[in-house]
Symmetry: D2
Subunit: 359 residues, 4 copies
């Protein structure tokens, strides 16, 4: 699970730069016999696509996915699923002024140092366009998970100072796709939306948090000690561009609460062992306990701002940079489907890993 | 990097239950030619050992490590380093009352569901005693890293409501090992210490945070897109028992700050490209940029409390449990060397991975 | 190294069925800074292509490769190289009569049993068309290896009863590409060629052996104990369609020779330690010793013959089958570049792995 | 599957040098709920042990295995199984004369070049003593496989010029353990035995072949395209010390036979699809077809001979070497249980991998 491959038994290997020919990937280890709903996959891509609303970049990317293998008569064959999405709306010249300049808090400088070469156009490999492959992989994983009753819902829970309560049960998930911020509280969504517009008007950007909730996970997913389920989820989330933190269950909060206040007590729920609370976040000892899994991911403000910033060029000479191009003032709304995708791939992988526990 | 193996090129595979014969592991991929200071390794184990102070459990565990291979005339040979630490101070009978009972917020229940069998004595494989292998692996990694100038320092930055400032540069790291809490502020350390004693007196437990700072990392460590350095560090930290969250750089904080306030601006530092700030936490685009890497890890309160708790037995019948045995009221002080160990192993692994970037 | 990913640090993940949209793959871990000669890659594909001569199938496949990422201004960037080759010359209807029938000694039956579904057209994933991805990966690996002085040459050393001497030093490698069999002895090549024509005329097929010689390997490649260099080479070769055996050095031959007759004796070659013989095949204890690496791979006759054969249909009912379509009477000539490709990928991977031996 | 870890889901990680403290390993991914018969494991080690007969080295090694974890009340828990075998019969001084000398056709020279250091005592890590860990891993795998009806039998099929017929069905496997050569034909066994004695008397060594037969494999094991079952078996076999070749099914033989003579024809066997012959060796397209899997492994003569040989010292100066110590004149008899062990681990791993094919 390093470089450009994600997962153990279910594995996505992705490729592609922002302004190259195409982005795409190979999904290996996808179970055979799963009906492949291509409209669903395309719809997931559309949720990620720029230009959905005034809150996102105005770039129009068709992002039409083409599945090249691994599906026969609409059913997965167990063979690898290759796919590509052509890059059709490249304004590479937007980036000409960045060719010899390192953008602050971007990957430009470290890519140059690590690889000795970089595709400067649109961030090259470090562009968020890379997440297209994640969304395709996640969409396929969701198709498999739906057959075992696992469902995944993410939403924007914080934008700058606007923040939802940590208790996700308070919110109506049906609202999420009804507003451009993807926030399950319509009122706060409106405030977030207005705030993002203001930030955009300033040529600035803002960060926030996404909350993700998984329902229907069977008991037993997780591979201790180094493959604890939340460690895998944390790895998956932190691999998303701009992610700065991950917490599940109580996370960094409620530090004042003691063990006696945090433990989830078992009880006899009509003949079934159950817990009265779910402060653990659905995972204990690194293994799912059958309750809802929930976690939060922190995202920093997009580094590309439309204000002039001092920086240096590739020769180390000081200069200034004013970004051109079409950029998101806030990454959160479009990151929601990506968080879901990474969650789906992780859970399917761990579902398959768990099967090897027994003969 | 799942089950009981950690790492890609540098790999620790660990084994052992709390009350079994021994815990231990195999370290594979350790570079040849490194002098192995066994006193240093033992000292790292001593930092993790229970019974160091009144703040930790009163169990006395000798935790004497025996290196069985891979070292010849005091030098690493490049061959795998096998090691064991015998379990010598087992009070297995302390756990007899837990044989048929699931401890709340422990791994007992999920292990039973996943594996169909569990070693109930002292938590078996889910016991924190497993971290001995991590500390040995980390000590070896530190010996290698010291030769390339990388140093790692972790400390307790929060215990319950007592919390240090996020800015680590304010603190004197020389203080860390001078107080039993391993906090670099002697005054707050005293408050934390007193607080932990009070919690212990109540038979209760408390959580907190550890901050870790890495100095001397060369530019270029990190394997985008799924092997981003902070994703690997997050995975490593979240794999530690009781960890609930990970953040690096700004993390979950300062959400009100905009891109223009968060970006680290490049400048010409006497002929060397440098940044004026390090809000990114030493990692940009998943690759180290040569600045200090810093991150925080959240730990929940230890689940084992000495108060009576309602629970169920393995047949689902409701009962109560009062833990016996010797337990930590606060895991933080002893988790400091474990956080350092996981950091060291991750960095060595990624240092070796980076070498493959070029021919 | 299982399913559809080959390699550890240098990794090819491939996809594609014979009669699907495309075959292709992703090459990850390719070093940055390598000039990418696309004409060379296409030429390697042309060596593999059907229809090169009367000895191979008359299918005409353009097999035009398109590199989609990972190369910028003609130089590798260290980012994954995605590529596809469209399937343009599909005569899927040739296979209609095989839809419900299991071809003898083909993968049809076991694919159906393992996956519950199969793409019957042209063998689907089990088709030799899959090797296109191997040849692309191998061509890239060769470009990297050429910069460190490693060269790889394979040739047909046996077809049916016609067999070259095991001592490769007897032959002129310049002759290999001068005859359609790819045999370095023009006279035997002519005999083999005539023999294959005769077999083809009978509607039958024939097997044989390929010998491969690697020159210029530095001392030290190989990762004992399970990653011995010859074990990795063996794995690579045996993963090629129709391969039935692998031997290196003395292999299965010369069993009458004793240790005293087989050992390679060291001597002082003008100040450099050298061996007088190379019976070991360039690998000792699983590690390259700097001498030529040589090995042989056995291939069975192609299972598809143009004679009627009894078989069963998917319902288990007995029937007969006469293959249509365009098939190779002898796989050897076209397998030569595939053997080279797998060798190249293995050596580059092990070259990169070896770099982690030292800090 | 490189360095010192073998397998994907079932994984053995081994450690230990010939004259170090111990050899051992960790088995991870062993299914839970399997009764662990320690007497069986010890018996497998005894089959590998030196000093069993006059045909093997006279070294007496107790080779007492100690399981340190992963087993509770005699049942596997699904947690890693750590184990060690202490080295108790070390005559390290036997090797003092080899400290500064490179033994011909041994790993001494390449280890020194690769790692810059080597444990010269008894071959260090490159000693066949390393195979103890393989036999323990294989014994555990056999315990699991026996529950799903898979049985593995290997035997010596060639020693120097003495060779059995390739058709294993001719032989009575009950004879194998009744003679010290482990050959199923008592008459040829006696000839082989006498021949080995003669070779031993000359201070020389001799090689040969081992045949292995697997019965009861379910249809569907194998992970195309790079994880073909025979490729994994080939890798496993070639990783054994002194192995020089691997072939399955027809292998390198019968090259004169055409496709029409080699294909295994399907027929209706009382309502079950079956094949009339098994020339494929139980694997088609890389996937087991439910028939017997059979393969052969070639071993070279042991490099250590008791005759004086010219060589060089570590400074490159020419010298001579006469081995002392206790060495096998023929590795075959003791390699039989090692071939079985590697086969067992491979099959269990692939059985577990196959479970992920379906949801």
């Amino acid at each position: 699970m390093y470089n450009n491959t994600f997962g153990n038994l279910f594995r996505l290997t992705s490729f592609g730069e922002s302004h190259g020919e195409a982005v795409g990937g190979v999904i290996d280890g996808f179970p055979s016999g799963i009906p492949i709903d291509t409209a669903f996959i395309q719809n997931e891509l559309n949720r990620r696509r720029p230009g959905q609303s005034q809150l996102t970049t105005s770039r129009k990317e068709a992002d039409q996915v083409e599945l090249l293998s691994g599906v026969f008569n609409g059913i997965s064959t167990g063979c690898p699923i290759g796919f590509i999405v052509r890059n059709t709306n490249q304004h590479s010249t937007d980036y000409d002024n960045m060719k010899d300049v390192f953008r602050p808090s971007h990957a430009d400088y470290v890519y140059m140092q690590k690889y000795g070469i970089r595709d400067h156009r649109g961030g090259g490999r470090s562009s968020a366009r890379e997440t297209i492959a994640r969304v395709v992989g996640g969409a396929l994983a969701k198709l498999a998970l739906s057959r075992i009753g696992i469902s995944i819902t993410a939403y924007t829970s914080q934008v700058g100072p606007y923040r939802l309560d940590n208790d996700y049960t308070k919110y109506d998930f049906d609202c999420i796709e009804k507003n451009p911020v993807r926030c399950p509280d319509m009122e706060i969504a409106a405030q977030m939306s207005e705030y993002i517009h203001r930030i955009k008007g300033e040529g600035d950007t803002i960060g926030g948090c996404i909350t993700c909730v998984v329902k229907g996970t069977p008991i037993g997913l997780g591979q201790p000690v180094f493959g604890k389920l939340h460690a895998a989820l944390g790895h998956a989330m932190l691999s998303i561009n701009a992610a700065k933190g991950f917490e599940y269950g109580q996370g960094f909060s409620n530090m004042e609460q003691k063990g006696s206040e945090q433990n989830d007590l078992f009880y006899d729920n009509n003949g079934v062992i159950d817990v009265k609370t779910n402060r653990s976040g659905g995972i204990q000892g690194g293994i799912s306990n059958g309750k809802d899994i929930y976690f939060r991911v922190a995202f920093k403000p997009v580094a590309t701002i439309l204000k002039e910033q001092p920086t240096v060029d590739i020769h180390g000479k000081e200069t200034t940079l004013t970004a051109r191009g079409r950029h998101d003032p806030c990454v959160l709304p479009r990151a929601v489907p990506i968080v879901e995708a990474m969650t789906a791939m992780t859970l399917l992988d761990y579902y398959l890993l768990d099967k090897a526990t027994r003969l």
